[in-house]
């Protein structure tokens, strides 16, 4: 399968990040349409790659860790475009692009594009479960990005260190809202993903169920504990995504070990 679109997409994210970083370093940062254009181009190349890959394997492209990482990256880019035009031209792209570049670089360089062992037979429930779960992680990743931005902006406000970047960042109220909105989106997708797992009718190792259940309960508790305040929710959303990333890798590992599946 030709990986050129994926390589081009990775370069788009790198270029977008480099442009922003250079502008920030020179102290003359202004949100530019170039950042949005790079994100959009990267997203289009990702989509082209995933569609091609899906056709080549006749499955949803989630059959190994390589595809899971690319699909996760695509989900993050999708949420970047979904969470509102107010954030698109701000520094959100600056925080998102390096994350996408990192995920796709790991996918391209690490030996994780192994032969597809998942979906020996066609199981649409399994494909749906996998797709919804990875999209949920995409939403959680973006919530983490919004959380990092909230914490950075909040710290500047508290310490009164107001620089050029401060005026380019979205208001903390908007970041807190975006953070919550993304967490809810992720939880809804994760819930739908868990529900669709009921139709898979395959034996699943208990620790995989425990991991999945723990993630779901953790995010639910995080969202129900509104009295924590936006700062603590931002901290927890960053920590929760870091944990969920570990959980995703662990789930993939255990699934492969136990069932010869990708998830």
């Amino acid at each position: 399968m030709d990986k050129t679109p994926l390589i081009l997409s990775t370069f788009c994210f790198l270029l977008g990040f480099a442009v922003t970083l250079r502008a920030l370093k020179s102290g003359h940062y202004r949100p530019r349409r170039l950042n949005l254009a790079m994100m959009a181009a990267g997203f289009v190349f990702q989509t082209v790659f995933l569609v091609g890959r899906g056709r080549a394997i006749s499955h949803c492209p989630l059959t190994n860790l390589f595809e899971v990482l690319v699909f996760l990256s695509w989900s993050i880019a999708l949420f970047y475009f979904l969470i509102g035009s107010a954030y698109r031209l701000s520094l959100l792209g600056m925080f998102t692009e390096p994350l996408l570049f990192l995920i796709q670089t790991v996918a391209l360089l690490a030996p994780v594009d192994t032969p597809h062992r998942l979906f020996a037979g066609h199981n649409p429930w399994l494909e749906l479960h996998a797709a919804l779960s990875v999209m949920a992680y995409g939403a959680f990743a973006m919530a983490g990005v919004a959380g990092v931005m909230f914490l950075a902006q909040e710290r500047r406000l508290k310490t009164r260190r107001i620089g050029v970047a401060f005026f380019q960042m979205p208001p903390i109220a908007d970041l807190a809202t975006a953070n919550l909105r993304l967490l809810w989106s992720g939880l809804l997708l994760l819930t739908a993903g868990q529900a669709s797992a009921a139709g898979i009718r395959m034996e699943v190792a208990p620790r995989v169920l425990i991991w999945g259940g723990t993630m779901w309960v953790s995010y639910l508790l995080l969202l129900l504990a509104r009295r924590l305040g936006p700062r603590r929710i931002a901290v927890l959303s960053v920590a929760a995504f870091a944990l969920s990333a570990v959980a995703l890798c662990a789930l993939n590992h255990f699934s492969q070990v136990n069932q010869g599946t990708g998830l």
Partner: protein, 360 residues
Amino acid sequence: MSTTSRPHILCLGLSYQTAPVEVREHFAIPEAELPGALGTLTSMPGIAEAVIVSTCNRVEFYAAASDVPTAMCSLQRFAAERGGMVPAVPEPFFAHDGTATIEHLFRVVSGLDSMIIGETEILGQVKKAYAAAAASGSTSRNLNKFFQRAFNVAKEVRTQTSITRGPVSVGSATVDLAEKIFGRLATCHVMILGAGETSELTARALLLRGVKSVFVANRTYDRAAALAAEMGGEAIRFEECDRRYHEIDILISSTSAPHAIVTYDKIAPVMSQRPGRPLFIIDLAVPRDVEPSVNDIEGTYLYDIDSLQAIARQGIEMRRQEVSRCEQLIARHVGEFHEWLGAKRPESEAFGISVTEPTA
């Protein structure tokens, strides 16, 4: 038969940099008088096209002409007649010709020549002046192109540099910070504690950005009531304000109390009851009204007069640093426009004059 000639654009004017207000006011031209003044100006010798920019900070006459000395004499005579002075360039006037005129207008519309660097009000004022001139028929190809190019330059300067970014006063620093905390201010409630002049100005700046309501508390209730009436707000008794903190999002304090009146112990319980709803406190008083430890409470952002002034200074400095980038951008456009202006064109086209070919 048409002849060829190089058109010139010149400018005579005065601004806050060259003349005090008592001089500027003699030359100011009210909007209603502009068509008449433009008619007079374009009927004077050597002037083919004219635009008059008259604001509180500047009065400038722009003209397109083929004979610069004649046109400049006309501009001087016109200015002198307006100001009731002898027909000679008075001391406060500056005169530009050629690229200096082009550069001057590009700088003016970009806000580089303004009292507050990067302010954008001047662009609107120049646009209005140009529209008035165009409507009265005193502009043609040269000044049309000149002003339209100037507006494009101003837009480019605004979008490609940070010249309009950053607060430049305590009031604008407060408003900018409030917007970075709350986003839209339309749902914010403000309390003014102590009806001083600075707090009043700051509250007015917030009102202009659309805050929902204003409470005014003062030791003298009548003063609070008067200010509240002026601002369309609500006056409250000074003793009552502690019980109203939970209602507000922004607190502006500027009393003459000798000790802190807004303390950690008063604010902490309020904030614990409203997670996710920040409180922005602006302490303009000296000695300070608010205990510094209040800033340690989660969701509370405390700024005193020094920190606001530091932000305003930083904003001005940020804009100053952008000036050279703006100048580089302007220089490129000056060159391009000068080249366009210098291109050999038939005089009839250059000055928008309709020339009828003589018939045999």
